[in-house]
Structure formats: structure tokens, C-alpha cells
């Protein structure tokens, strides 16, 4: 089986009115179906329920999905079924697994407008971001299907000497627990799931409790595409279900994207081998960030200002890659700050379903309160040059904020806020900026605006981050182009959408066969 080379799924050309209309129509159609009902879905068994409710962050009274909540018994059944179904799935040729995944990708493509609309409603992703999320989901499927095929068809070559035959092959690890976040409610759960499925593992998916509706659509597409139901269980639920899944004796791998706090718990829990357990569990974790953008004195502020604003405030800053600190050379600090504050003041805070909205509501009340606490801290211990105009009353809206003149030990500068708050600090130069970046325990993304090639080289050498962006925004990594993932506490160094990601889901096996019989090589 050979496939055409991977190419990124094109995002919609939303600068054209008919493409925008397509999305608005899809939203209208979707709304007639809401709320979606999301079952605990294990093999042939669907158990519906209403214990879990996802709502529109811009209109919290509106239910988007009503979901059953998985309990310990569900986790038990799901893992048992996955464990039984994993060996036949692993024995299925990679080409057949890839074919099922590519059919899934085709279904997602057909349903792209509906899926984007669902992300708009359930997670308040503005249209362009929601559409990009769908495209990234498709990209992951296409990319990993090809990657798994290549892994099977062309494993690395080993040295061969007369009389022996050496072969390296990658085998599926077994049951993979996928624990997904809400901020990329389609791309991230599907990416982790497809990496596991493509390489022959069975998946138990525990989506974010804020986004069960999106997860249901993904699992439907996988099953309709031909992935056996036995290898893709859906367990909507809260943190406890995820924790039970992580601790389960028969899980081999945990793929997690989320906060550092939960990530560290997972790493600790996964390290303990339960009685009778047969795996040293592997954890693939993509965690948080405290992402800094360095602006040198020679930066083109015409580019830097819009780039930083996008990086920090698109989707209300709710991306692990989002910029949250700017370290600017003192020579241009005043100019940058003035323009940045002015640019933030004109950002449209509004509903995700309205084209032009830059800052939608944050995901839930707790997030709104958290952002408000940091904003309060910033204005009481520093200076806030943005005007923080009024925001819609209903919904979890936060005014976008730029803060400066904060004390060096301010939590605003060191903790992940995950909201529309950007701190600006004045530095004497890029080396001082690099020192501050180096003090952080996070190392996910970083940005640099600078036009001196020697300085760029120096900053590249000194940057601990997993993804460094030069003279462009720090968000928007593309599958195959910017394999994404952080270092230090930001992640286990796996790169989603990159050439070595699948290696985390397999274990290598080397077979050496003696080919000498009676002194002859046969």
C-alpha cells in the first residue's frame, strides 16, 4: 500500500463570504440537534446518561451535550475489552489500519463545517480557530496513518553478518489510555488516539468533561471509518475516571495533554506497577507553558505587535502555546507597550460564533475567576495600560489585559494563567531576556522578534523551549511542519505531528535468526 505524500488539510478561505456562510449554515443545522447525547460507549454497549453536561461558555444556560459519566466499573469493562481486542488489531496489517483511518479522515472532511460549529458551541472556539482545529484533526489522522505504515514497511536496517538474519520491528504496546483536553477538542484527542490506533494499540478515550460532544463525533467517525468498536472505547467523565484509567493494571501507555499539575500526578501514578501489572507504563505528556516572546531593539514593531497580540489573545489565550510574557529591549519598550496596549484595546471581545471576535469567553466559571485573580494581582502590584472595557455580562468573558512593571517574583510572571493576560517586561537586551527564560521550569514555546542573524543564532542556542518561532506568532503549529511539544516540565519531549511521535506508542523488538545449519549458511 502506498499513499500520496502527506499535505496539510487547507483551512477554509474565510476571507470569502460564501465560505463563511457555509459555517453559519452548519451552525444553524447543528443547533437543531442540540443537546447531543454522549454515551459511555464500550464495544457494542452504549449507556446514555445526563450526569455530565457541557454548556456553551458564551451562554452557560445552553446545554451542548448531555453525557453519561463513566465510573470505575466502566473503566474496568473498557480496559478488559480493549485488552482482548488489542492483539487482533495489532495483527491487522498497518495498511488496513491506515485505510480505516483514512476513511475516518474523509468523513471528518465531509463533516468539517458541522465539527467546527460544534467546537464553536461547546468550547467557544472562534470560527477560524475551530476550522483550524478540524483541519489539524484531519492532519493527525493522515500523518500518523502514513507514519505507521512507514514504520511497518521500512523499519531501520541492522547490521547483517553471514549466518544470521537480524530484523527490527515495532510492535504495538497494548492498551493506551488517552486523556484529552478541551482547548483543541477535536485535534488533540484525535491526534493521540490515532497515533495509538495506527500503530496497532487499543484506545480507551477519556475526553475533557467540558467537551464530550466533540469526542463523540470523533469516535463516531472512527467507527464509521472502519475502526473496530472494541479498540476505541469512549468514557466521558470527570477526573476520577481518568485517574482510574491511569492506575489500571492493564494499561500500557498513557497519552495525556493538559496541565502540569495533573501531568505530574499521572507520571507518579503511572510509575507504580500495580500487583500483577505487566507494563512499565509509558507516559506521553504535553503539559503547560509560560511562553515568552523576546523583542530585540531591531524588531519590526509593525510585525511584532500584531504577532504578539495574536499569540497571546487569540482564543482568549487558552492554548498551551500561547504567549504570556513579552521580554522587550528597553530601547523599544515604550513604543512596543503603547502600541500593544492600543492594539489590545481594539480587540473584539464577543461570542465565538461571530466573525471578527478575537477574544471569546473562557471555558468555564472557574477559569474566569482564575483570570480575574491574576488580573487583580497585576493591577495591584504592577501597571495595566489596557483599558479593560466592558465585556458581555452572560458567559465567561474576561477583558484582555496587558500588564507591566510587575515585581520579578510576581506569580503573574511565573504561573500559567491560561487566559487573556499578557505581561510585558523591560530588559537590557536579548541576553538578559534569555536569562529570564532560562529561569522558568516551563519550556514549551518561545518567540523572538529580531532581524540580526547573529542574534537569532545566539537565542536559538540558548533557548530551552520545544518550539521556537522567529519573527512570527508562537501559536498555530502545523502537523508535519512544526512538530509540537515542550521540554522541561512542559512535556515528555514527544513531538505531536512529528516524525518520531509514533515511537512513543510502540516497543521495538529485534529478532535474530541463526541461518547456519551443519556449517552451511542456508
Amino acid at each position: 500500500m502506498t499513499l500520496p505524500p502527506f499535505r496539510n488539510e487547507p483551512v477554509l478561505e474565510l476571507r470569502r463570504a460564501p465560505q463563511r456562510q457555509l459555517l453559519l449554515d452548519a451552525l444553524g443545522a447543528l443547533e437543531r440537534e442540540l443537546p447531543l447525547r454522549v454515551p459511555v460507549w464500550i464495544g457494542d454497549e452504549r449507556r446514555e446518561g445526563e450526569e455530565l453536561r457541557s454548556t456553551d461558555p458564551g451562554e452557560p444556560e445552553r446545554a451542548v451535550a448531555l453525557a453519561a459519566q463513566a465510573g470505575d466499573a466502566d473503566v474496568e469493562r473498557a480496559v478488559a475489552l480493549a485488552r482482548a481486542a488489542a492483539p487482533p488489531w495489532a495483527a491487522t496489517p498497518a495498511g488496513e489500519r491506515a485505510a480505516a483511518l483514512l476513511r475516518t479522515a474523509a468523513l471528518l472532511r465531509e463533516r468539517r463545517a458541522r465539527l467546527a460549529a460544534l467546537a464553536v458551541r461547546e468550547c467557544a472556539k472562534p470560527w477560524a480557530e475551530a476550522d483550524a482545529d478540524v483541519c489539524e484533526a484531519i492532519d493527525f489522522v493522515e500523518y500518523y496513518a502514513r507514519g505507521a505504515l512507514a514504520l511497518e514497511q521500512t523499519p531501520p536496517e541492522l547490521l547483517q553478518v553471514p549466518g544470521e538474519r537480524n530484523a527490527l520491528a515495532y510492535r504495538a504496546r497494548g492498551v493506551v489510555a488517552v486523556i484529552a483536553p478541551w482547548n483543541f477538542p477535536l485535534a488533540i484527542p484525535l491526534g493521540m488516539t490515532c497515533a495509538a490506533l495506527a500503530t496497532g494499540n487499543a484506545v480507551v478515550l477519556k475526553p475533557a468533561e467540558q467537551a464530550p460532544g466533540c469526542a463523540l463525533e470523533l469516535v463516531r467517525a472512527l467507527r464509521e471509518g472502519g475502526v473496530p468498536g472494541e479498540v476505541i472505547a469512549l468514557l466521558p467523565g470527570a477526573g476520577e475516571a481518568g485517574a482510574a484509567l491511569v492506575r489500571h493494571r492493564d494499561g500500557a501507555t498513557v497519552a495525556f495533554t493538559g496541565s502540569v499539575a495533573v501531568g505530574l500526578e499521572i507520571l507518579a501514578a503511572a510509575a507504580a506497577v500495580p500487583k500483577g501489572g505487566a507494563h512499565l507504563k509509558r507516559v506521553v505528556a504535553e503539559l503547560g507553558g509560560k511562553n515568552c516572546v523576546i523583542v530585540d531593539a531591531d524588531a519590526d514593531l509593525d510585525d511584532a505587535v500584531p504577532g504578539i497580540v495574536r499569540s497571546a489573545f487569540d482564543y482568549a489565550g487558552q492554548k498551551c502555546s500561547a504567549a504570556s510574557r513579552v521580554l522587550v529591549h528597553e530601547a523599544v519598550a515604550d513604543a512596543l507597550l503603547e502600541r500593544l496596549a492600543g492594539a489590545v484595546d481594539v480587540l473584539v471581545v464577543g461570542q465565538a460564533d461571530t466573525f471578527g471576535t478575537a477574544v471569546p469567553p473562557v471555558i468555564e466559571r472557574a477559569a474566569q475567576e482564575r483570570v480575574a485573580r491574576y488580573a487583580q494581582l497585576a493591577s495591584s502590584t504592577g501597571r495595566v495600560p489596557t483599558s479593560a472595557g466592558p465585556v458581555p455580562a452572560d458567559g465567561w468573558f474576561c477583558a484582555p489585559v496587558v500588564a507591566c512593571d510587575l515585581p520579578a517574583d510576581s506569580p503573574v510572571l511565573h504561573e500559567e494563567i491560561f487566559g487573556p493576560l499578557l505581561a510585558v517586561e523591560r530588559v537590557t537586551g536579548v541576553d538578559a531576556a534569555c536569562d529570564r527564560v532560562d529561569e522558568l521550569s516551563y519550556a514549551l514555546t518561545g518567540g523572538l522578534y529580531c532581524r540580526n542573524p547573529h542574534t537569532v543564532e545566539r537565542v536559538v542556542r540558548r533557548s530551552p523551549v520545544g518550539n521556537l518561532y522567529v519573527n512570527r506568532p508562537v501559536t498555530g503549529a502545523m502537523v508535519g511542519r512544526q512538530p509540537f511539544g515542550g521540554n522541561r516540565l512542559s512535556g515528555t519531549g514527544s513531538k505531536a505531528g512529528g516524525p518520531d511521535y509514533l515511537l512513543h506508542f510502540v516497543e521495538p523488538q529485534v529478532v535474530t535468526e541463526n541461518t547456519i545449519r551443519h556449517g552451511l549458511v542456508i
Binding site: 497580540v309 492594539a343 481594539v346 540580526n452 547573529h454
Partner: protein
């Protein structure tokens, strides 16, 4: 039409200034000679020009220059000298000063002055040679409301200033009247992207609404002064917003009797024929006492459009083969000239063939010379401007005004455009025979 085009082309060619002065003389000769030699050098030069205004000292300038030149694998001897100068502080000061002077010299050939007042001498000189102007205020990108307000205020002040400049100048009948009536002396080009920080490709109404407030103010001022306001077209991302804004405002009853105003049609856009249809439909749906002017251009954002489309996996909105743009330009020229007197037409091209073709069509349709305007860019179209003015055509020169910081993006774009191998000016400078230059695209 071919015969008419060749004849008009030959007339123009004969009127082009002769001798060693070619159109690329406008660029710094030494720099362009290097740039033509090799792509790496060209990239280094552009990156340097781009960063000049952001450099804080001569030392800083020299460090940037040597940084860029490091990437050039086989530097010509003069570059090697520059690199050696970069090794010492004194050397860097000298190198920085020389480089800064070079860039300033280049900039001054394209930019007529730091302010409209500083440009008076040039603008008056043009008028005296029988050449009208359209002044364009260069500026940094508009990212805040305050910047949009400042740009609008600069535009309003420029209108006042230009009115004062042009009022006492002697009459130039060819430039001041056409079949549709009198045409203003004062002509200002404005950019919608500078009038609002809210241009969003997926929400054109956002930018339109915000820019409308400032543009209405400028339209009123232009009407009071009897000036012409031309709204430039920019990249495709803002196309819908700009079209909607201009047609909406000019259709408002308040502006029925003026000012004179214009829009731009970019022939490199695949959908430009449909855009022209929209404009024509608009002219029949609104009542205005002065016809809308349409400036026909090839389009200046070709690289941007193609790269952006490629990065997103889209079909570029522009023709990818230059000859397609050229053919479309000619087709649109015909359609536009036939749409008079509902529209006024300005043909903005440095391509001798495109210009000659427009002259031929105008003649064939029985138009007088003043019934079609030709527009050129200051610094690049100087020779064509002289030839057109010298042969009795109506010509207007687009004159950017602004400081070095603001002007650098404009300068880099002009440099890129005109060092590409496909550029008409480059072909002309390379001595391509007239017959080939005038061949149908």
C-alpha cells in the same frame, strides 16, 4: 488594434529619454548591480534595507550588514572589503555611514519628501512639466485606534496643504478637464489599512464600520477643497472590506455631489472581471454628479498573495503566469474605456505595451488624450512619465511622502518588484528590442 498599439508604442519609445539613463538608474547602481548578480546577495541587500530604520547606531547598522552578508557564499571583492571593515569599531562606523547614506539615497528617489510641505518643490516641478500627482502618505502599520486617527489627521492636513500648493499654479488644461467635466488638481491616495486597526479578512464589516467614520471625514474635507480622494487597494485579505467601504460611502446621499473619488482594480486578480461588473452595476444604482475613477493596476502584492495561498493550501487569487495578468490588463482596459463616461479611467503601468495598448484603444474609440489618464510611480516611471507628457498624454505620478522609517516597507516592495527578472523595467533596461517589448502578451 495591434497596429495601433505598435504605433503608439513607437511614439512613446521615441519620446523616452535617451542615453545612458535607463529606468533602473533610479535604483542605486552599485547595489542593483550586486543584486542582479546573485540571489543571496539580493536577499542580503533587501534584509539590510528593511532593517535600516530600526538600527540605533552606525555600529549597529554595520553589524546587521555584515550579519546578512555572512550568508552570501561567494562574496564579490567589494563585499569582502565590507566584511573586513566589520571587524573593527572604526571600520564599522565607516561602513555603517556608507551603507546608511546609500539607503537614504535610494529612498529619496522614490519618496518625494518627509512631509507634504517638503514635497512642494517636486510637486510644483511636476505640474510645471505638465504632470499631475497623487500623493500617498507612507506610515507605519496601523494597529491602534490612535494610529488610525493620526493617519486620518495627516491625510486631512495633507489635503489642506496640497490645496494651498496647487491653487496658485498655472493652468494645465490637459490635466484639469476631460469629457466628463473638470478634474481636481489635488489628488490624495489613502489606504484603508491605515484608517482602521480592525481589518480582519474573515470579518470585513468590522474594518468597514471602523474605517467609515474616518473616511467620511476625509471625503467631506476633500469635497470642501474640491480635491480628489483615491482609495488604494491592498492585499486580497482586505479586498472585500475596501470595496464595500468605498462603494457604500460614495453611494450615501451626502456624497452625491462630491468629492471626486476613485478605486483601484487589480488586473492580477482572477476575479477582477467580476469586480469590474460589480463596480459597473454600482454606477447604475447610485446617482453621483462626478463619475468614479477606476485606476487599473497589475497589482503590487503578487508574492504575498502567492505565498499566503501556498502556506494555506489555497488556489492563489492572482494569476500565476505574468502573461495572463498582462492579457487581463488589456481586456480590462478595453472594458473600462468603453464604460466611459460612467467611469473615469486611469491606466497605471510601466509596461510600454500596456500603455500603448490603452492609447490605441482610446484612439479607436474616438477618445481625446485627456479622456484617459496614465499613472506612474515616482522613481520608477520617471522616463515613461516624461515620454507621456512629452507626447501630449495626460499623466499623473504617484508620489509617496514620509520619513525613512515609514518609507522602508514601500521601498523594499519597489525594489523587489523591479529586480525580478519578469519586470518590464528590467527587460527594458536589459535592452530587449522594442518589437519584443511591444509584442502581445
Amino acid at each position: 488594434m495591434e497596429a495601433g498599439t505598435r504605433q503608439a508604442g513607437a511614439e512613446l519609445a521615441a519620446a523616452l529619454p535617451h542615453g545612458p539613463r535607463g529606468p533602473l538608474r533610479a535604483l542605486d547602481d552599485r547595489a542593483m548591480e550586486f543584486a542582479a548578480q546573485d540571489a543571496e546577495l539580493r536577499a542580503a541587500l533587501f534584509r539590510f534595507v528593511d532593517v535600516v530604520p530600526a538600527c540605533r547606531s552606525l555600529d549597529d547598522l554595520a553589524r546587521h550588514l555584515t550579519g546578512f552578508l555572512d550568508d552570501v557564499e561567494q562574496p564579490p571583492p567589494s563585499i569582502a572589503v565590507a566584511m573586513r571593515m566589520g571587524d573593527s569599531r572604526a571600520g564599522r562606523a565607516a561602513l555603517g555611514a556608507a551603507a546608511a547614506a546609500g539607503v537614504r539615497r535610494m529612498a529619496h528617489r522614490f519618496i518625494v519628501g518627509e512631509t507634504p510641505r517638503a514635497a512642494h518643490g517636486v510637486l510644483r516641478g511636476l505640474w510645471e512639466q505638465g504632470v499631475a500627482s497623487s500623493v500617498d502618505l507612507l506610515g507605519e502599520a496601523t494597529v491602534t485606534a490612535a494610529e488610525a486617527d493620526r493617519y486620518a489627521a495627516r491625510c486631512a492636513a495633507a489635503l489642506d496643504d496640497l490645496a494651498e500648493l496647487y491653487a496658485p499654479l498655472p493652468p494645465r488644461p490637459l490635466l484639469e478637464r476631460d469629457a466628463a467635466g473638470p478634474t481636481p488638481r489635488v489628488n490624495l491616495s489613502v489606504k484603508v489599512s491605515a484608517l482602521t486597526p480592525l481589518l480582519r479578512p474573515d470579518a470585513p464589516e468590522l474594518g468597514t464600520r471602523d474605517a467609515a467614520v474616518r473616511l467620511r471625514g476625509l471625503l467631506r474635507r476633500a469635497r470642501e477643497l474640491g480635491a480628489h480622494l483615491h482609495i488604494d487597494m491592498e492585499s486580497f485579505d482586505s479586498r472585500e472590506a475596501v470595496s464595500a467601504l468605498v462603494l457604500e460611502l460614495l453611494g450615501e446621499p451626502e456624497f452625491r455631489d462630491g468629492p471626486s473619488a476613485g478605486v483601484v482594480l487589480q488586473a492580477y486578480l482572477r476575479e477582477s472581471p467580476e469586480l469590474l461588473e460589480q463596480i459597473l452595476a454600482w454606477t447604475t444604482s447610485v446617482e453621483r454628479s462626478t463619475p468614479l475613477t477606476v485606476r487599473l493596476v497589475k497589482g503590487a502584492y503578487w508574492d504575498h498573495e502567492v505565498v499566503e495561498a501556498r502556506q494555506h493550501g489555497w488556489t492563489p487569487p492572482v494569476f500565476e503566469v505574468k502573461a495572463q495578468s498582462d492579457r487581463n490588463f488589456e481586456a480590462l482596459t478595453g472594458a473600462l474605456l468603453e464604460a466611459r463616461p460612467r467611469l473615469r479611467i486611469a491606466i497605471a503601468s510601466h509596461n510600454l505595451r500596456s500603455v500603448a495598448h490603452a492609447i490605441a484603444i482610446n484612439r479607436a474609440l474616438g477618445g481625446a488624450p485627456q479622456d484617459v489618464e496614465f499613472q506612474v510611480l515616482r522613481g520608477l516611471g520617471d522616463d515613461l512619465q516624461r515620454a507621456l507628457a512629452g507626447t501630449g498624454h495626460r499623466v499623473r505620478t504617484y508620489c509617496p511622502v514620509g520619513d525613512l522609517v515609514a518609507g522602508m516597507a514601500y521601498l523594499v516592495r519597489r525594489l523587489l518588484e523591479n529586480t525580478s527578472n519578469e519586470s518590464f523595467l528590467a527587460e527594458q533596461a536589459a535592452g530587449v528590442p522594442l518589437d519584443e517589448l511591444l509584442a502581445a502578451p
